[in-house]
């Protein structure tokens, strides 16, 4: 008991230290932060006794003494280079340890009415949109990391695309960790609001180079109104000791389309919570992911997709390659409400184990209350096809190259779906690099 108390005390300490308010912080936010702090104190960090966290232990976080991030940490040129994709012509917003840094960011002309800015700035300017929409989808009273983010966030970004506006230029938001991020806890909150028929392409990069354990905790809310379309790519390449937790809520109205692809290559311990609330007829959600891990890296994808209305297709494809002692967890729940007839939901998790110390857990789950539905889920855990490997070797290809070819072919299912070419090329290069690192 003493131990838990100490751990709780540590986080209370973090909360206290982090509870400086934003400039011009409105009363509703202050109130909400206070409630979230209470919730966090009550919930604590989840343990493996919690069903949703069964296979991912946060012990390393409990033992860490974290402090809030400074707002002026320096990002080295090497770190800043992580926010660049060769040939990508995009608007760039850079955050370092959770704080917006105008000096590292790069503006570009966006269509009239489109808002892309720091959330702290939007709050300071009294944005009615933020007041109305922020926190509408999240549940800090139930989720520790959402509570932690709500209580302590300093910044994040706001993207608002008004009705009927198409943003052709990709929007790139990079959350970098400074080289001195060790021991730092940084939370961010993002709000993405697409009006009716609005379209945007969003790239989120989470990266860092600094040594030492640090926590990055990001909560994102995405709202897609009638007929809106969002293409989102998340590339996570945090530094080797980083703990990265993301919680993303997607709310979709009629005929909207959200495509989200998450690529995980970095971090020591990564957890993605993705909640899809499909609340409009004939909207469509595509949530895909790829993780290629080595060493003792571990990635936990937890998703919950609710079909509330008729005629909604949702597709989830998560593929993973695990070498050394890497481990991966996939939990996916498709929840079909009684009204959601003609649902077409498909959920697949495939893991490739390259070492006998790697470990994969899969929990693809269906919860269905409507009868006229087509729901399938599948999970496979296995290794490379020995016959394919042999075939390539018999054609004079050395075993390692053959293996890498097969792994790339496996990963390509996801990679080829990345629609922003410079990002896709960067991911391909990073994959080659990762494969070269794998023994």
């Amino acid at each position: 008991m003493t131990q838990t108390l100490t751990k709780a005390a540590r986080f209370a300490d973090l909360l206290d230290k982090s509870r400086a308010t934003l400039a011009n912080e409105p009363a509703w936010l202050a109130e909400r932060r206070a409630r979230a702090a209470e919730s966090f104190a009550e919930l604590g960090l989840p343990t493996t006794r919690h069903e949703d966290w069964r296979y991912t232990s946060l012990a390393r976080l409990e033992d860490a003494e974290l402090v809030p991030a400074a707002d002026n940490a320096k990002a080295s040129p090497a770190t800043l280079a992580l926010a660049e994709y060769a040939g990508l012509d995009a608007v760039l917003l850079v955050f370092v340890d959770g704080h917006y840094r105008a000096e590292y960011s790069r503006a570009a002309a966006l269509p009239a009415g489109v808002v892309l800015k720091s959330l702290a700035a939007a709050i300071r300017d009294g944005s009615p949109l933020v007041a109305e929409k922020l926190g509408r989808l999240t549940k800090p009273e139930r989720h520790s990391f959402t509570a932690l983010a709500e209580a302590t966030f300093r910044d994040g970004f706001l993207l608002h695309v008004p009705d009927g506006v198409e943003v052709a230029t990709p929007i790139h938001v990079a959350f970098l960790s400074s080289d001195t991020a060790a021991g730092v806890a940084a939370s961010a909150r993002n709000l993405i609001v697409l009006g009716a028929g609005a379209q945007a392409t969003l790239i989120e990069t989470h990266a860092g180079l600094g040594a030492g354990l640090h926590l990055k905790n990001v909560v994102t809310e995405i709202r897609a109104a009638v007929g809106a379309r969002l293409d989102r790519i998340v590339l996570q390449r945090e530094s080797p000791e980083a703990v990265h937790v993301s919680t993303t809520h997607v709310y979709q109205e009629r005929e909207s389309l959200v495509r989200s692809h998450t690529i995980d290559l970095g971090g020591a311990l990564v957890r993605h919570n993705l909640v899809g609330d499909l609340d409009g007829e004939a909207c469509e959600a595509i949530f895909n992911g790829l993780y290629v891990l080595r060493g003792t890296q571990s990635v936990d994808n937890f998703m919950w997709v609710e079909h509330r209305k008729e005629n909604i297709p949702s597709h989830e494809l998560y593929k993973g390659v695990l070498a050394d002692k890497a481990s991966a967890v996939f939990t996916g729940r498709i929840y079909v409400h009684p009204e959601a007839q003609k649902t077409d939901a498909k959920q697949t998790n495939q893991n490739l184990l390259l070492s006998d110390s790697a470990r994969a857990n899969a929990r693809p789950q269906l919860e269905i209350y409507a009868d006229d539905v087509k729901c399938t889920h599948g999970a496979t855990i296995g290794q490379l096809d020995a016959a394919a490997q042999f075939y390539l070797e018999s054609r004079g290809i050395d075993p390692r190259t053959a293996r890498n070819m097969l792994v790339k072919a496996f990963a390509n299912d996801i990679v080829e779906r990345l629609e922003v070419e410079p990002v896709r090329e960067a991911v391909e290069a990073l994959l080659d690099q990762r494969l070269a690192e794998m023994s």
Partner: protein, 483 residues
Amino acid sequence: MTTATKTIEELAEQKYKYGFYTDIEADKAPPGLNEEIIAFISHKKGEPDWLLEWRLKAYRHWLTMEEPKWPKVQYEPVDYQKISYYSAPKKKGDGPQSLDEVDPKLLETYAKLGIPLNEQKILAGVVAVDAVFDSVSVATTFKDKLKEMGVIFCSFSEAVKEHPELVRQYLGSVVPPTDNYFAALNSAVFTDGSFVFVPKGVRCPMELSTYFRINEMNTGQFERTLIVAEEGAYVSYLEGCTAPMRDENQLHAAVVELVALERGTIKYSTVQNWYPGDEEGRGGIFNFVTKRGICKGDDSKISWTQVETGSAITWKYPSVILRGDRSVGEFYSVAVTNNRQQADTGTKMIHIGKDTRSNIVSKGISAGRSNNSYRGLVQVNKGATNARNYTQCDSMLIGNRCGAHTFPYIDVRNDTGRVEHEATTTKIGEDQIFYLQTRGLSEEDAVSMIVNGFCREVLAELPMEFAVEAQKLLGISLEGSVG
């Protein structure tokens, strides 16, 4: 008559057939659970001291445990102090020595249930039956014939008396008394059940069968079944269950342990038809059962087949621990829920030995306002080289007020393992029904044909007599759900 030729209307009229109550004077323990009651049960059964100690240890552990909340089922909390933990039909004298001495009323009951205790009536002598009424085993047929081959098939109480060394060796070796809440409760208060021991190299010549019936009010049934197949032995075992219709819920918390040694094979089939409660969900049996087998020796095999149509709540996960190299675990299940029934069932396959294989086929059918969940675990341990699993879970929904859920857990820690899981959820296809109708079948026949086809892979695993019964049960359970 098979279901395919029955119309749904007929089926709809068919209520729970086995809901009668037999008025027999019962020797019943007062309601309540404490160490005295456990000592009373143990004394009643003339048990040795070690077994009483074992029970008490389980009871003391149970007191420290909490009732599990994770299954996807909802029910009013069970008052464990209101249950009578021992009920036996009153014996005349020292109990029946042969079938002739069994209370004729009991025989009548079993005849109504269609359990032919009377040996001549048994289907050409292919099935040996052990019948358990409330808490005690009433009669076991064909015992002598089995004895000649060295097969022991008797009630658990008898086994404790006559083969204490075997019971002591294997009891709790697969499901330890501390395993889970209901297993601990069972270990403390279990009353009877069946014991099967098939010695080395013997292929049991007939299907062994136990019929369980809960008769008395306010009783629970806590049976314990232990089956051991020695090296190279084979046994196929069937279990069937019914209970009278009552407004209150009754608890059934059984433990089944299977042990297969080298090259041993155990096939365990269940047709579970406990009273499911009425349309509004009043009454019915809470079926909280722990079933687990261990493939202890190399090349051994354990196969579970279950047809679950009854019970208000079913909560069970027949599992196999694949310890021996090249051992095989199988699980075939059909679970049908209607009205307000809730089922949370599935299996666990734990791969420990090398080259182990497991196969899971689960078919869930939900109708009415019921909820039907598959929950299963496939675990491949680090040393389980070349383990292979294939899982298929299909759900069918009839009506839009029911739920079908799938919660598989897959845990692989070895890179040579191959684990596949597939699940689908569909409704009965209108085009399929239409197609059959164009061929002259009525809608009702079409539906039952499709449902039977949907379950065929599983029903094919059942011994013939049971397959026929199971097909009928499928029809009865779905009564009134189509239209």
